[in-house]
Amino acid sequence: MSAWISQFFASYSNIIDLCLLNSLVGYGLFLALSANMFSLATGGFMALGAYCSVYCTMELGFPFAPAVFAGALLAALGAAAIGAPVLRLRGDYFMLATFAFTEVIRVIALNWDSVTGGAIGIFSIPRHTETWHLALAVAVVIYVAYTLRRSYFGRAIAAVKQDDVVAQSMGVNVFMHRLSLFIASGFICGAAGALAAHLNYFIGPGDFGLVRSVDALTYPILGGVNALAGPLIGAIFTTLLPEALRFSNQLREILMGALVVAIVLYLPGGAMSVFKLRWFGVRAGETKLAAATEQAQS
């Protein structure tokens, strides 16, 4: 039995690691989305975290934990720097500004040869990230998200999400709430970037572009933006899907796209809304209320 487990782990440990890593990124986005911030800055934050932590471990000889912390901190600083001006923008403009941030970071990484290695990237990065680091990080982030939702801060954020004008008129400082949440999101994505950099021996500017940002958005949206477990489910689903569909070769990409479209079409509240519907379904009286809330939120 134990032999079987160790073989399973040896064969699939990287998939487990990737699931956890993507979950971590998913929760970073989950925080941003909980105040209606459709951020495409994830790639940029991860790049900051990754390059900074690699610089710390390889050039400055830092131990792993402070290096990850430094990377996360730099990403949080980046979030504060762009969040301050950009969070006054709303909707599409915010999205465009965060997209521009990711592109700027990518182009800097491409051209700052002495630190980032340019297009060639950095290889032979020591492998420090263990599965338990990732699991611990995900557990901590879930706990933080859980307590946050129940706090005064969380209620204020929920109000901002519903209608920021009303929230503002009730005395919630919308800008500061959004900014602090955006910084927290940057911190988590930066930490994820640092962990990712020390997982697979190599980083390059191409790893942290727009694709990464869009992928990160799909985790919480597929899983469900309103459920605490949503990002976890979404990230695991999107990470396992390409592996599960490997048998189909060329058809794989079509199948993946079709499945994602199907989920968005038939479960607009994300995969976790299946459970919600069933729980509320038992208490018939609340079904309408649930549907109404759902509508108000979308």
Binding site: S11, Y12, S13, L110
Partner: protein, 377 residues
């Protein structure tokens, strides 16, 4: 009691089945990690998968390995590094492969090859031309000659024939392969004492190079060296001639620019375009003719140098399995692969050098009338 008897019977039956299989043939699992989906990587990946599978079937039908039967296990990594690592882990621990061919991209190799090195499973790449691949460990080999082995030969030929004094360089700044190719080109130019009078860059997806080429034209170089993939190189060559860079300015390209597509896209302007390669389709040897014919028959298209190199990789493995006397000891197999010498291959005789790089003589090819032909002295 009944159950244990049944289990005993079952295991006995299993043991018998196993031993009888072992008597007739022993499978040698070969992992083929090539991207067959996921953008431009798939162009190179599919060619190599085809080449490798063709060679596996040929060797199995020929019976030259006796009781050993090669079993190719192809997995698509979509050019994505995370997936390459997933696949390597599974191939090594689950499928117990004896050797892995691939992966398609050098960036994937930097992430995945260390796993194989650690597990002691040999890896043979047939499309990684970036520097540093075989430095990852003594289990990492490649049959694709790196740019640094090919380009100096090309330049030496051009120097001898045209004796250029000045050169201009243009390369893709956001591509791993092209940026390292640029460094190789620059070093070769400097060591040949050719003065670089202009250096320009472009990015993936660019289609208009007139700004860079106008500057290069103003510098009036004797030769122009392009660090780009096939499509980009074709566009640059065509636009350079249209902008009036004269045919007396010889244009040289990187190894990765070799593709049948280049002639299609650049047309007559590509005449005189010079590259270096470890293999080319008209190479005159019975082995190569048989390869090209078999490939055309099976896939109804022409092989390129990546297909040829993947094909060679499988023959290297087969030869090593024979000399190592099986695959029960992968250390022995690695040593046998490393000792590969003068193996008859589709580009002449194939050997690995001390750094596990291919010791082939690069050939200088010149484009003429839409086809690459061997450069005449």
């Amino acid at each position: 009691m009944k159950r244990s008897v049944f289990a005993l019977l079952l295991s006995a039956a299993g043991a018998m089945a196993f031993s009888s299989a072992a008597l007739s043939e022993t499978p040698v699992n070969i992992g083929i990690v090539q991207a067959t989906s996921g953008g431009s990587a798939a162009l190179y990946g599919l060619m190599q998968k085809n080449g490798a599978e063709l060679a596996i079937d040929e060797i199995n039908t020929s019976g030259k390995l006796g009781d050993y039967k090669l079993v190719g296990i192809h997995q698509d990594d979509a050019g994505d590094r995370g997936q390459s690592v997933n696949i390597f882990q599974r191939l090594i621990n689950q499928e117990k492969v004896a050797v892995i061919l691939g992966p398609t991209l050098a960036t994937s190799a930097f992430a995945a090859d260390p796993l194989a090195q650690k597990a002691g499973v040999p890896v043979i790449a047939s499309s990684n031309t970036a520097p540093g691949i075989t430095d990852m460990g003594d289990y990492i080999f490649r049959t694709s000659p790196p740019e640094s082995m090919v380009f100096p030969g090309v330049l030496a030929y051009v120097k001898k024939k045209y004796s250029p004094k000045t050169a201009a360089q243009i390369y893709g700044i956001d591509d791993t392969l092209m940026k390292s190719a640029y460094a190789v080109h620059k070093k070769a130019l400097e060591s040949e004492d050719i003065k670089i009078v202009a250096t320009e860059t472009f990015q993936k997806g660019d289609v208009d190079y007139s700004a860079q080429l106008t500057k290069i034209k103003a510098a009036n170089p004797d030769i122009l060296v392009i660090g780009g993939l096939a499509e980009e190189t074709a566009n640059i060559v065509r636009q350079a001639r249209q902008l009036g860079i004269p045919p007396s300015t010889v244009i040289l390209g990187a190894n990765a620019a070799i593709s049948n597509k280049l002639a299609e896209l650049a047309g007559a302007t590509a005449d005189g375009f010079t590259v270096g390669s470890g293999w080319f389709i008209q190479y005159d040897s019975p082995k190569n003719k048989a390869f090209v014919e078999a490939y055309r028959k099976r896939y109804s298209s022409d092989p390129d140098n990546f297909a040829a190199q993947a094909y060679t990789s499988v023959y290297v493995v087969a030869d090593a399995v024979k000399r190592a006397g099986g695959v029960s000891d992968l250390k022995k197999l690695r040593d046998a692969i490393a000792a590969t010498k003068d193996l008859e291959a589709n580009n002449g005789s194939f050997s690995f050098d001390a750094h596990r790089e291919p010791a082939v003589t690069p050939k200088v090819l010149v484009m003429k009338g839409g086809k690459f032909i061997l450069a005449a002295d």
